[in-house]
């Protein structure tokens, strides 16, 4: 299995989307922190992803726009910090939508799940 981020796909998923990852930012962090610490932080992000995706899904099910906005905001910050630009991009959209009073719809969930899936190929965060 390819590690996420560096070595993962870096192309945009759609014309209007950002690259899946900011490979330069991730390499910069690896160089700054060293492989061990960077990988430890990535593992922490995996834990966060599982929890936050679950929170967003529950908010969608319960039509709770505010809860969706809070979870999406946390997801945006966590992924932005580590160069996962596509997830951050779609999390920002969910956050804006939630702040506008609209909970994620099924197609929103499909988009954010797809962004996570192509950012972490072969890993399952939908449990």
């Amino acid at each position: 299995m390819s590690p996420p981020g560096i070595g993962a796909a870096t192309g945009a998923a759609e014309d209007s989307d950002p690259a899946v990852v900011d490979a330069a930012a991730q390499q910069d962090l690896r160089d700054t922190l060293g492989d061990d610490i960077f990988d430890e932080i990535l593992d922490a992000l995996r834990d966060n992803l599982g929890r936050l995706m679950k929170d967003i899904a529950e908010a969608a099910t319960q039509h709770d726009a505010a809860a969706a906005a809070r979870a999406a905001h946390a997801l945006k910050g966590a992924t932005l910090n580590l160069g996962f630009t596509l997830i951050a991009h779609h999390a920002a959209r969910l956050e804006a939508k939630g702040k506008g009073g609209t909970a994620p719809a099924a197609d929103d969930m499909a988009v954010i799940r797809h962004a996570v899936a192509i950012s972490f190929p072969g890993e399952d965060f939908q449990r």
Binding site: A25, D28, L29, D31, T32, L33, I37, E40, I41, L42, A44, L45, D47, N48, R70, H73, A74, K76, G77, A78, L80, N81, L82, G83
Partner: protein
């Protein structure tokens, strides 16, 4: 590009005590690791605003500088800032947020924040705000 830091800055960092307040564990670990990489020796972490205030009130940590996420469940970063400024005169508080509007930076300043970092949180943005706190 990685900005080099001089020995004076590393010594200043090693002399300071930091509290990192961030509810998302990967971001908390990243911020603490970047601080250590810049020379910090004492970095305590808090998992949310309530944890931070508890550590400050109990005296478990007496930081010189707090690096604090803005939006957290329960007590938010502004709440932590207000508590910290009351409890420890002279403490410096840097707000971290994925908000990027100038209005947010102004609000942080008006509330008494000593610095403001917009995510993504990088070594360079952290270094810039710390250099401003150091005053050189």
């Amino acid at each position: 590009m990685t900005t080099q830091v001089d020995q004076g800055f590393v010594e200043w960092m090693s002399d300071k005590s930091f509290l990192v307040v961030e509810d998302v564990s990967s971001s908390r670990l990243l911020e603490a690791s970047l601080l250590r990489g810049l020379g910090a020796r004492t970095v305590v972490t808090a998992v949310d605003g309530a944890d931070a205030v508890s550590k400050l009130e109990s005296g478990a940590t007496q930081p010189d500088i707090i690096i604090c996420d803005w939006l957290m469940p329960g007590l938010d970063g502004i709440g932590v800032l207000e508590h910290a400024k009351r409890l420890i005169p002279g403490i410096k508080v840097v707000m971290v947020t994925s908000k990027s509007g100038l209005e947010d930076a102004k609000l942080a300043h008006d509330k008494g924040a000593d610095g403001y970092v917009a995510k993504p949180f990088t070594r360079e943005t952290l270094l810039a705000v710390l250099k401003r706190l150091r005053g050189v």
